[in-house]
Structure formats: C-alpha cells, structure tokens
Symmetry: C2
Subunit: 655 residues, 2 copies
C-alpha cells in the first residue's frame, strides 16, 4: 500500500504568494499581527498581568540549561509555544518583520539547545520526568507536542528559508522514526492526541523524505488495531493516569478514536479536536499513499460529522465530558462544547478534502466554521478568547447557577491555563491566505471570497488573481485576471450553499458557466486585465434543522451569506427564550455602521411571551402566556459577547 | 425564645386510627406490605441476586459483636435499615403481622446490642473508625443516621407499644444532647445532612421531653451562623473529605444550606433532600417554640421552592451536580435530577405547613409530588426504583450517548448501592394514611381524597369518617360521617387546584359551603349516617409554565386531576421531539382498562415533523420540515417506563 501511486490533489498556494487585503479580514489579519501574536508572546513569557501564567518559554529555558526551576503548566505546554512560532512563520511569510523574526530566532536558539543529543525534544519530560519518555503516550501528548513543533519548523522554514528549527524537527522526527514503527524492537504505539500524523506529512512535503510519510502512515494504521496499544500501555502502568486519577479498567478507547482501526470507523466520536486532527492526517496519508480505502473512511467520517454532528456555527463536540462528540443529531445548544480548536481542526480537514475533491460542500463547511466559530472564538480586542462556543447562553446559568453549564463562559477569557485555543486561532488567521485557493495543473479553485492578490502557476503560465470581495456583507465579488501571457486555463468559482443564484460576468458580459461539484468553471483564453464579476444572491435565510435534531425542533436560526445570526440581550432584553419569530415575519437587513465596528443586522417583528400578565403561578391551566410584539434585532454570531455579559441565542422559536 | 408559647397546629391522625381502603392506593399499600418491605429486607440482608449488596444488617451484626467482618457500604448505610424499620412500624400500626414483627424485634435486639454504653449508635464509626466520632459532621451523616433511627424508634413504639428501640434512641438522643449544644464544652456543630432536626421533634412529641425540642432548635439555629462550623471543621481536617477527595478551600456551604443562618435564607438552594428535610425541621421547631420569625422563613423558602424551582411532577432539584437546586425558573427537563427522596421530603414539609396553615396550596403540592414523582419512583412490581425522575428521557442519550445524561436512567433500577430512595418510598407509602387528614379542636381537614376509614376526636366526640374516592380517575368522592353522637363540628374539604368547580351535596342536597384558603368548610350539626358527596370537575388541562421557565417556552403539558401526563415511545413511536400538540386539538380521555393495570389515557390528534421528506441536510434554508397528523396517546407520568426502554416526554411543543 505504501508504494501505491499517490492520488492527485490540488496544491495549496504558498503564503508567500497570497496576500490578503480585504475590508472584512484586514481587521483580523492586522489584529493577529499587531495584537494577538505580540500579546501571546507576552502571555507565553508570563508577562500578562491577571492572566494565568503559561511557563512555556521558561520551560524551554530551563530545559536548555539557561535557567533553573521547575516545569510549569500542562504536560502539553510546549505546544502553545510551537503554535505561536508557527503563526509567526505565517506572518513572516506574508510580510517581513525583522523585529518579530529576531524574537523568534532567539526562541529557536533556545529550543535547539533544549534538544537532546538524540533528537528528543520535550520540556516536560526533560525537566520533570527524565527517563520516562514514551511511557505514557495515552495521556502525555508527547507526539502531539512533537507534531506542533514540526509544523512550526516547516512554517518557519517556508517563510524565512532558515533551517535551524526545521533541522531541529528533522532530527526529532528521525529519532521518533527510530523509536516507533512496525519493525521488531520498535514501539508499536501512537499518541493519545493525534497531531503528529498531519505534521509528518507536511515534513514529507517539505523535505521530500518519504520516511516521514511512512511514519505518519504507521501511526494512522496502528491506531485502534488489536491488541490495543493504549489499553496495553495503561495496563502496564496499573491504570494510573498522568492526571492523578486511576483510569477505569475498561479504557474508553473511543475517546482517542482508538476503538477500532481508523479505516473501519463509521462515526465521528470521542474528543473532537483529536478527531479532526486525525481526519486531517488520514486524508493526507490516503492522498499521498494512494489509499482509496482509507479515503473512503475519510469521506464517511466527514459526512457523519458534518451531516449529523455539526452545529450550524461550524462548532463540533456536543458534550463537555471529554470535549467530545456525542451521537447523531444530538446537538444541545446550551450544554454544547464546540471548542474553538475543534472548528479550527475542522477547517484543516475541510481544506484537505478540498484538495482531493474540489466539492463545494467541503468549502461550505470550512467557511461556516471560519466565519462563525473561529472568528467568534476571539474578541474584537484580540486578547480574549472563547474555548467553548455555545449557541445559547444564559449568564445566570453559566456563572454557577447551574453547574451543568460551568464550562460555558458568557464572556471571553483573558488566557487559559490550558491555552490551546488562542494560539490556534492565531496560526489559522495568520495563514488565512492559504485557504482561499487551491490549484491543479490547469485550474484555480476559488474557495473563499476574500480580497487580495494571489500568484499561481497554471500549466507554465504565472497568473496573478486580484480579488475584491464585499463578503460577508454583500455577495459582490470581482476578480481581475493577470496571466503573464494570454493562456487557456480554468477558473473555478465556488457557488456557496447560502446563495440561491449567482450571476457571473466576464468583462461585463454575462457568462454561462458550467457547474461542477458546486463550482462554476470558466474555461477560456484569459488575457491580462480580464475581469470576472460574481453577484452572489445573499438573502436572509430562515434555517431549519433536520427533524431528528431534538434541540432545534420548532426553532429557526437566521443566516445571511456565511454568517449565522443570533439574538443578544444587549439588543433584545433579557429572557431571550420568551422571544419567538412568527413564521410570516418579514426579515430585513441593514448595515449598522456604528454597531460592533459595522455589521449587517437583521430585523424582524417578533413576539415576546408576556410575563407581566402571568402572575406568580409556576404552572397554570389557564391559556398559554400571551404575547406582545417586539422588534427583534439579530447580530452576526461571531460578534456576540463584545458588549458585556448577557444572554445569547442562535435558535429561536418559530411561532 | 425557647420558652415562647407554641403555635397552634392541627394534629396528624395516628396510623392506628386511619385505614386506607382505596381502589387506586390499595395496590400500592399491598405492594409495600407484601413485596416492597419483604424485598427490601432481603436486599438489606444481601440476599437479592444481581442487586448491589447493602451490608446494612450485617454491619449491625458486626457492630453488635455477633459476626466478624468489615463495614460494608456508604457511611450512611445504617439509615437504610432505619427507614425499613420505620416503614415496618407503619405497617404494623395499620395491620398486625406477627411474622414481620418478630423479624423486626430480632433486628431491634441486634441494634440494641450495637449501641455503646454511652448511648452512641453508628455501625460505620463503631466498626471502621472507632474514636473518630463527631469529627466529620459535614460528610459523614452521623446525626442523619441518628435521626432516621429516632424516627424508626418512634414509629415502632407507636405501632407496637414496644419501647426497646424507643429506649435505644432516647439514650442515643440523650447522649447527643450531652455532646452538642451552645453550652461551653459542647460541640457547637450540626450535621452536613439535615434529618435529626425533624426526628428530635417527633421524639419530643412522643416522650414529652423538651430536651429534644431544644436540641433540634439548637441545630436549626446554629446552622449557617458565623464562625461557620462546617468551614472550621473542614479546615481542622486539612480539607480532607470522607469521600477521598480534598474539599476546595472555599467550602460550598450553600450545598449544606449553611451559607447563612436559616432564618435569613431566601431561596431553596443546595442539596434538595437536605433542604426539604431541613425545612420540615424548621417548621416543626417554629411551631413548637412559637418562633414566628422562623416560620416566616419557612413560608419564604416554601414559596421560592414551589413557585420557582419545582417541576410540574413535584420533582425538585434541577441539577445532577450536588443533587441540588439551581436557580429560579431553571427547570431543564432532560438534565434534571428530581430525586425521589426529595419529593418525599417535599411531602413531609407540605404536611407540616398544612398543620400550621391549612391552606390548599400546600396540599396541592403534596398531592402533586405523591401522585407523580413518588409513585412514579417505583415500578409496578415494587422491586425497581428511580432515583432520578426526568421529565424528558431519550435512552440514546442516557445510555452513554451523551455523558451529560449519565445520571438519568431510562429504566428503573433493581437496588442502589446508595439505596436512599427505595426505603424512603416504602416508609412514605406505609404511612400514607397519616397524610389524608389533619384535625384541630372542631375541624377535620380532608387533604387527600383516598378511600378508607378514619377515627378522629372532635371536641370530645369521636367521629368516624368513611371515605370513598374515585381519584385519580374521576373526581367523585363520598364521605359517610359517623359521630358517636349528634354534634356540631366542621368538615373542611380541599378544593384541588386542578378542579375548576366542585359541587357538594349533604345527604343528597346541594350544600353551599364557604371556602377558606381553598377548603370548603361544612359546619353543621352532624348525625350518624350523614353523607357528603363531592363532585370535583376533572377536565383535561393544558398546563403552561411561567414565561420565565426557559425549558418550557412554547410547550404544554397535560394534566387531569392530580396526574401529570406524558408521551411514551411505546405508544407514540420514537423521536418524541418531532411531535407537537396543535393549540386547538381536542383532548379526550378514556379509561384504558388493559393498559398498565388500567389507567385513564388522554388522546389527541397531534402532528409529527416529517423526517422522511427532509433528505440528509443537517441545516437547510428550505421551509420548515412539514408535518403529518399523528394520533397522540398520553399516559400518566407515574406509569412510564413500565414497558421496556423508550423515550418519554412530559412537555410537548404546542403548534
């Protein structure tokens, strides 16, 4: 299988060749560059007052012998720094910043000094548990941290051409390759938290060394086979966990997606972030090894996740216990988990599916997660983050009123002890440009409508694409096509699921494009200066859920373009559950320039249950509570919780 | 304060003077006598195959020196046996049973031998932690177990006249009185789990010794005062808990209702069973000590609980975490706790409120809890029990699908390791007769319409009341009044909240009775053979919740008489959330003789979301899912989960 021909897949355009310049996204790109990444550097150095310390930088200094002290933080603390370095690499790829680069170089020097002679690199095991490497893969995120460092090394090398961190991770990966594998004497194990699988494919793509692909393939294929590695490992530790408790005798292997071989799995299950990281690695390995059976599993798992277990906001993970998927159509809006990191992983997986199968359904999900949960995971100030992204929140419940909602925060938090989400948002947004297009020999696919300039090679011709986009506020998109010489190639424009009709003009003339898998494909002889204009209809949509979704029965959610909307207490008063949207209510939208830095709001004449006439009875055989008219104002979900603490609801009763 | 005059309160009729003989309740009374109590005796003796062992009897044998071995079970295991003995006392009070009495006597002999010379009695501390008595009142239920044994001693004495167990508990109470109190050198503490407070008042009423009332008053008044005893005790133990974890530095004193002095408390809060047991003790102490300020707190807490934090089924405790109240109007139907024991405690508190204030609102709640959650807590076979009583259950979620519902069981369980609920149901149903009436000098209040015969002294005249009742299936009730001589007195009949109108006849003639606090008061000269007939209108009611109840917005529940109804999968198919009840749908009822031993069912033409037309999209901008007509069949809530595993829902969308 390992030697089968790889499947064809389209290329991601390197960040050095894509520049984002977009009225909506510039804010976030600038925020990441000028606020988020600098702020997180302060956080990683324990210099943010009032925030939980990180210890991540100091751990590396201690491991490098530069400082004395104890390891601080979670066993996976290294990964926060790695994600920051990866984000830094992406920033440097799109715009030089000598000061930032100097900071990163200095950090990389420290990391290199913390690396063992044999290539091993992990501050927790170096400082706190020397000699215990690879003894608790289930709990200790050792390969997970390695994976993040590999991603950082690759990103930093691609951005700067500097090999120092790349060489560090190559040495580390080579060492891991000596330790793990099917060969006798090697550890036939895998990490409790998937991540290294996708990282190794990046390292393979960057170095061309097939060892890394093979190692990734090994990890993917070993997972869930019998005898179960995680079970055996836990037994050998007498069921003791890293976390201070004793694992139950029956290990919940599904939490780790290790309950059966991955190619046999049917359902999105277990810890949601691990699942989407694994799925990303599976797609990569399937593609690069030509493993169609594995890819069939990827399709099956993708479909189960997105057609049965995904929130309308692109959130995944229905339960706090295990930060995990629950079961088909179980999508509670208030006890939800929907971790920001999980939606980021969903973006990763979607991009990989797109590379193999340019089908709009993958880009639709990517866009849904990006514009709602990912952007919503961060406050407008770039310094506060959601870990959990509810679709219905009541501060009275979240703030201790009902412990069932203890994991849901009604305001974004400064920095987490477990700080996986903030640097994950940073690295995703810093690399936003790489999600806009993919290209194969003769086609550029435009997946996201985000303005800027991209340069792409198509059959030997260099083509510059200049995109202008009014998304998410209107569906007008304009492309200027600049091939270095007149050439025949295809531009494939995604027709988003949220747009009932699109008109396309080329140089002002209506163009009837054929549609393939949700993309309008324009194949013609392109000349410098050709323009393509898309007018994507962007009506306000009343969304409904599949009838099997218990939580949304009788309810509707509003969406316009990629944006899901919500009611907030700030606009609609408290007790949002009293509000309903009549089935016939007209929905109008307008740009509210002064609100939340300018957002399109949706307005409708709604109804509110009249509590004031009810009296004190908790239950009554009298008629249902009366209603009075109340104008409703919906704002984009991503912008919620930026005006103090209050209730929020995405799904509203339809009356 | 202790010497203030007691408040007047009506009397409970002793069980020896009330005989229940009722078509609906005979089943349960016989079940308790012939199945539940014998079955529980087997369980307490670890002789039920397949059920978790109890150890309760054996613990006493070991503590008595009759057997060798280790303590088994929870720290409060003794209380299961005490509740069984109390139930046995109630059974013996209403009907002789020499065989059962011999078993109980033998057990009491063992208990007496397990008592220490100083009066102390607790098998956990005797066997497992000698010398550590009274060192962990917060966690160890020591006074709670004492309270249950006192209740058993009182019940057994009242039933049989035998003093052995009464003397045991008197010695124990006397010893507790030496250990606890305000006086210097005494422990100024109280139990983490209230129970002894109400038990001591029973002992006071039975023995006439005011020491016990004073001690109860001490426990009530010490609770929540500063410096906080529970906090200090925990500090002195270095925050170590009995349960193997370390208490957080900030003790959640509200869980124990010890966050402020009880007379200042405003909200039902914390562990629900503890709360209602405390409230029962508070009412008793307020009454017996004439403490009107304390009684004002009782009223306030009662109103908060029943008007803002009680399920329509009479369940209390909205969250599994802490088995506790959450906050006003927070009544989730699916993640609910609503422990059977809590509704039993609600019955206790309601009866005590009724004795002080014969107001129908207390009896309405008592009846609601009794006919729905309490009876529903036990299977028709008397051998399976609910601990948690959900108002919406989906086996897919409960059986591991979503861990958030892990505490909710969709089928009743055989016996619990923590077996508080089954013997609590037994002791309540065995003493059912004592909840029917209260009496003061010249009035008998009929609170519950349950057939049978009662004998009561009214101003020197012995009156026999024979009740026949068709509840809960119809609202026809007939009383035959047999005073030993012609006399003037008052019969006060409760006009239930569920009955919009009642007609009353005396000897066949319409009688216009005055109404006082929800009771129709018939004052006249009564002669032997007088009959009173009540025709309580019993329509099917569409119930609605207060508009502030988020979980029930847009929903309705059906109730007829005291019975709340529900939809079950067995009658209506799965995916109950797809069902709705049109606002105008006609509701009809009929007695289904073959169903669940004969219940009145409610039928209506409902609607079901059509999943079959929807396709695979999880979210769609198309119209809301269509509906098709479906006949709905509602059964009484108490009877659910007697036909295998399936979904259930009390609240249904109103369309």
């Amino acid at each position: 299988m390992a030697e089968a021909a790889s499947m064809e897949r389209s290329r991601i355009l390197p960040l050095t060749k894509v520049n984002v310049n977009d009225p909506f996204w510039n804010y976030y790109c600038n925020l990441v560059r000028h606020t988020v990444v600098p702020y997180q550097w302060e956080a990683l150095n324990d210099r943010v007052e009032g925030a939980e310390p990180s210890g991540a930088v100091r751990n590396f200094k201690i491991a490098a012998g530069l400082e004395q002290g104890e390891f601080y933080g979670f066993v996976f603390q290294d990964s926060d720094l790695a994600k920051w370095l990866e984000a830094t690499g992406y920033l440097l790829a799109t715009s030089p910043d000598p000061e930032l680069e100097a900071v990163a170089d200095e950090m990389i020097d420290i990391i290199a000094r913390a690396q063992h002679a044999n290539g091993y690199l992990n501050t927790y095991f170096t400082i706190k548990k020397p000699g215990e490497q690879w003894t608790n893969l289930m709990d200790c995120h050792e390969l997970y941290c390695a994976g993040h460092m590999i991603e950082a090394g690759v990103a930093y090398y691609k951005a700067t051409g500097k090999r120092k961190l790349l060489d560090v991770v190559i040495r580390f990966a080579d060492y891991i390759n000596e330790v793990f594998g099917n060969e006798p004497g090697k550890l036939q194990g895998y990490d409790g938290h998937q991540e290294i699988e996708l990282a190794l494919v990046k390292l393979y793509e960057t170095t061309g060394s097939r060892n890394y692909l093979n190692l990734s393939q090994f990890f993917i294929h070993a997972r869930g086979t019998e005898p179960n590695f995680l079970v055996q490992e836990t037994q050998s530790r007498n069921y003791e966990s890293h976390w201070g408790f004793v694992h139950p005798k029956k290990i919940d292997t599904a939490y780790f997606q290790a309950h059966q071989p991955v190619r046999e799995q049917e359902h999105a299950i277990g810890h949601a972030v691990r699942f989407v990281y694994m799925l990303s690695g599976m797609i990569d390995v399937a593609a690069e090894t030509g493993d169609t059976g594995l890819f069939a599993a990827c399709r099956r798992l993708w479909d189960n996740m997105t057609e049965r277990q995904m929130y309308i906001t692109g959130g995944i993970g229905s339960m706090a216990h295990g930060e995990a998927f629950s079961f088909d159509y179980d999508l509670p809006n208030d006890t939800v988990y929907a971790e920001t990191c999980a939606s980021i992983g969903l973006v990763f997986a979607a991009q990989r599916m797109l590379r193999l199968e340019p089908h709009a359904k993958y880009a639709d999900v990517l866009e849904r997660a990006l514009y709602n949960t990912v952007v919503g995971g961060m406050a407008r100030d770039g310094k506060h983050f959601f870990y959990v992204n509810p679709l219905e929140a009541d501060p009275k419940a979240c703030n201790g009123g009902n412990k069932n909602y203890g994991h849901v925060k009604p305001v974004r938090q400064e920095w987490f002890g477990c700080a996986c989400c903030p640097p994950n948002v940073a690295r995703l947004l810093a690399s936003l440009g790489s999600y806009l297009y993919t290209a194969d020999n003769d086609t550029v696919y435009a997946h996201l409508y985000i303005g800027g300039e991209a340069e792409v090679e198509l059959g030997g011709t260099t083509v510059v694409l200049k995109q202008q986009s009014e998304l998410p506020w209107s569906g007008y998109v304009r492309f200027e096509v600049q091939p270095e010489q007149t050439a025949v190639f295809k531009l494939a424009f995604r027709l988003p699921v949220w747009s009932p009709s699109a008109s396309i003009t080329v140089n002002g003339q209506t163009y009837k494009a054929g549609t393939v898998n949700g993309y309008a494909v324009l194949e013609r002889t392109w000349q410098a200066g050709d323009t393509v204009e898309l007018a994507l209809e962007m009506p306000v949509m009343r969304m409904h859920s599949h009838p099997l979704v218990r939580s949304n029965a009788g309810k509707t959610a509003l969406q316009r373009g990629p944006l899901v909307y919500c009611l907030e207490q700030a606009d609609n008063g408290e007790h949002l559950h009293e509000l309903s949207l009549p089935k016939e209510a007209e929905l109008s939208w307008r740009k509210a320039e002064d609100l939340l830095d300018g957002v399109v709001v949706i307005e409708a004449e709604g109804e509110r249950l009249k509590a004031e006439d009810w009296g004190t009875a908790l239950y009554s055989a009298s008629a249902a509570p009366g209603t009075r008219l109340q104008p409703l104002l919906f704002i984009p979900y991503f912008a919620w919780a930026n005006r103090g603490e209050g209730e929020m609801a995405v799904w509203v009763r339809e009356s």
